[in-house]
């Protein structure tokens, strides 16, 4: 689609990324935070694919695929941790997970 300038896609990617940041920073529910992280990853993927189309480089697709795989792994482990924490603390509130401090 070379009628759509690259910057359009990048703008969308940027906005999605910004929304992901906001969500990660401003929500208390750790699940929402994790979902925001997924959102950020997707924004990155979008940028990658857009550039791939622009430069006709298929390797960016492979990169995006890898990102997806890693996102999946990260989501799995992250959720496992959340479940584990929930078991002992009965809470999914980010504010209460501050044990790793000085």
């Amino acid at each position: 689609m070379n009628q759509i300038p690259l910057s359009d896609f990048l703008l969308v990617s940027g906005v999605l990324f910004a929304l992901g940041i906001v969500g990660a920073l401003l929500r208390r529910n750790v699940l929402i935070v994790l979902m925001s992280v997924e959102l950020m990853l997707n924004a990155a993927n979008l940028a990658l694919v857009a550039f791939a189309r622009s430069y006709h480089d298929g390797r960016a697709h492979a990169f995006a695929l890898i990102v997806m795989a890693i996102a999946a792994a990260e989501a799995a482990v992250g959720l496992a941790i959340v479940v584990g924490i929930f078991r002992s603390r009965r809470s999914v509130n980010v504010d209460e997970l501050t044990l790793m401090k000085h």
């Binding site: 940041i21 990660a24 980010v94 501050t98 044990l99 401090k101 000085h102």
Partner: protein, 764 residues
Amino acid sequence: MTQSYPLHLIPLLPFIGAAIALLFGKKLGKQLIGILSSGVVLLAAAIATMAVYRLGTELPPAGRLVDSFFTAPWIKAGDLEVGASLMLDHLSAVMVLVVTWIGFLIHIYSTAYMEHDEGFTKFFGFLNLFMGSMLILVLGDSLLVTFVGWEGVGLCSYLLIGFWFDKEAYAYAGRKAFVVNRVGDFGFLIAIFLVFGAAGTLNYAALDVPGGAAQGLAQHHWLNQPIALFVGLFILVGATGKSAQIPLYVWLPDAMAGPTPVSALIHAATMVTAGVYVVARMHVVFQIAPVTLAVVAVVGALTALFAATIGFAQKDLKKVLAYSTISQLGFMFVGVGSWMQHQIGDPHASSNYQAGIFHLVTHAFFKAGLFLGAGSVMHAMGGEGDVTRMGGLKKYLPHTRWTFLIYCLAIAGIPPFAGFWSKDAILAGAFAAQWPPDPNAGGLELFFAHHLGHLLYGVLLVAATCTAFYMFRLYYLVFEGEFRGTDEQLHHIHESPPAMTGVLWALALGTIGVGFLGMPNAFHHGLDVFGEWLEPIVREQPREEDVKHFVIFAAVATGAALFGILSARALYRNGFSETVKSFVAKFPGLYKLVLNKYKIDELYDALIVKPLRWIAVVLWRAFDMLIIDGLFVNGVGVLATSVGKLVRYVQNGDPQRYLVGILVGAAVMVWMAANWTVKGASDFVPKAEQRTVTVSAHGAAGSSGQRLQYRVSWDGDEKKFSSSQTSPIFQHTYDSGGKKKILVEAFDPRWGTKSRESHTVTLP
């Protein structure tokens, strides 16, 4: 002419003996070690004798035996090339024979003397180690190899003086010897550096060649004097350290803390003679600037007299002998320093080396004998060394007494014992000495040049008289008169075992016989075997005196000696006579001063030791503890912990806070990258020729430089930029002169960042 010979065996055998004794001594036992250690020295002596025989029979007078331990040079650094090689020529032949044979005798003696000592094997190990080092010293073929031995004997001296180190005072004595020696070593090292710098070689053979490398020492000048002058003086410093002359003699009396065989070997016969040997060895250098020899002689004479006077009042048997050694070494220095009547540059020019070395040899015999005899006396007295408690020992110690008497006669200079011949040679040489003055010398200098010899002769004569006096004082106090010690000691007195007395007699024989090697040629040509032997080295014809000259000198010397002996006899025949006691009572201050060796040690302590200590303490407390420890070491620790304390608050456990940090970091990095691409790209250098200015901008390195765009404004006006171009070079010709402000801008279209730079040029 040189010939190869396995000289390395001579020092190697004692080293092997030392290794065995030190490593396996306890296991092998005293008897075996005693035999082994003495045996290796005997072997070394035998090999040395064979080598000397070969040298004497097969090689011409100036020939040498050489032995290189490695085929390649030991040190090869830049211009410096030194081989680990040994050399035997006529001079070192004399030394090596003295060292090995007397060393052997002393080893035999020690097997009996140290029999009851726990550290017997360690002692013999050190003794062998010393022998090895001393042999390297005398056999070395270059200054550096000699220095290796020099240091080695210094070390062994320390080890052996402080042998009974559980007595604190003895350990300190060892340390004092080492430290004072070190001062001398420092001087010696400077001399080595100077020799290498000016002559380019340290090898004796190379230096000895007439007109050879030594010329460098004559040609290079500093302060209008040839470098040889300074070399000579620094060697003298080293020699005063090792040979205990003023001002570095203070360690020798304290060194008596070591076992008596040590005193005999090291501080009578061998190590202390190293200084004299080195001066003789480096005669080529000294001869270039004969004033150095004058200094050597003066130092020697002063020391001789000074030490002799101290001997008057000492109560400790070994201390008297120590001062006597210092005094006799002074004699040797005078001998070596007396310049015979020749011009500088005369190939036959030399000083009275033969006399100095000859006295070295004779002194080795009778001084070693004196010390060993003293050891015998102390052994009989159960370790007592104070002569005020001895007396009348001739009844109980006949062997010791007779040999001791022989030694005393020799040291006093009574013919026909050895000391007479050598001392006479020195005195005659001193009297006749004339150091060639500077061609434009003034009156005073000329006076000294002609008459210094006479002056020194007078000093030495007095010293010789004193020598005779205090030695016989010693003899009478120890052997004659009534016994002044305790009953218990009386009970204990016994003559020493044959191992000890045998050695005493051997040395006595030597004392009697050696002297005849150096009788002057006045009586009959060729009598002066010793002088002839050394002639090729020192290139001085043995002194041809006429009989009349000789008889006069001999008579004067003998008369002085007899005067000394008879005075001593009168005053001390029956112990401390009334005259002596009243003298002491009348002049208590003088007596105390002499007894306390003129308080030189205390002087050194106040002038040198204490200030050094104080500096060290200051450096320690203030600098080391406060600054280095406190500021740097602890400070770093404190810094790290306090920074940590501050930074710790960043971690509050809130992951969302960390995310903010990541975000900010990412933004900062992107910002930096964006601005970095044009950083410095617009720095430019204007070159002006007349009114044409060429401007070349730096251009950022790397790939980003390729896509930068450059613009220039020749008026300094931001609005009047030229159009962009990718090349960073601009050129423009101005219409008028004067000050021009030039603006260059670099622009990165990718990032949208730019940077600007302006310069002002003045045009004609």
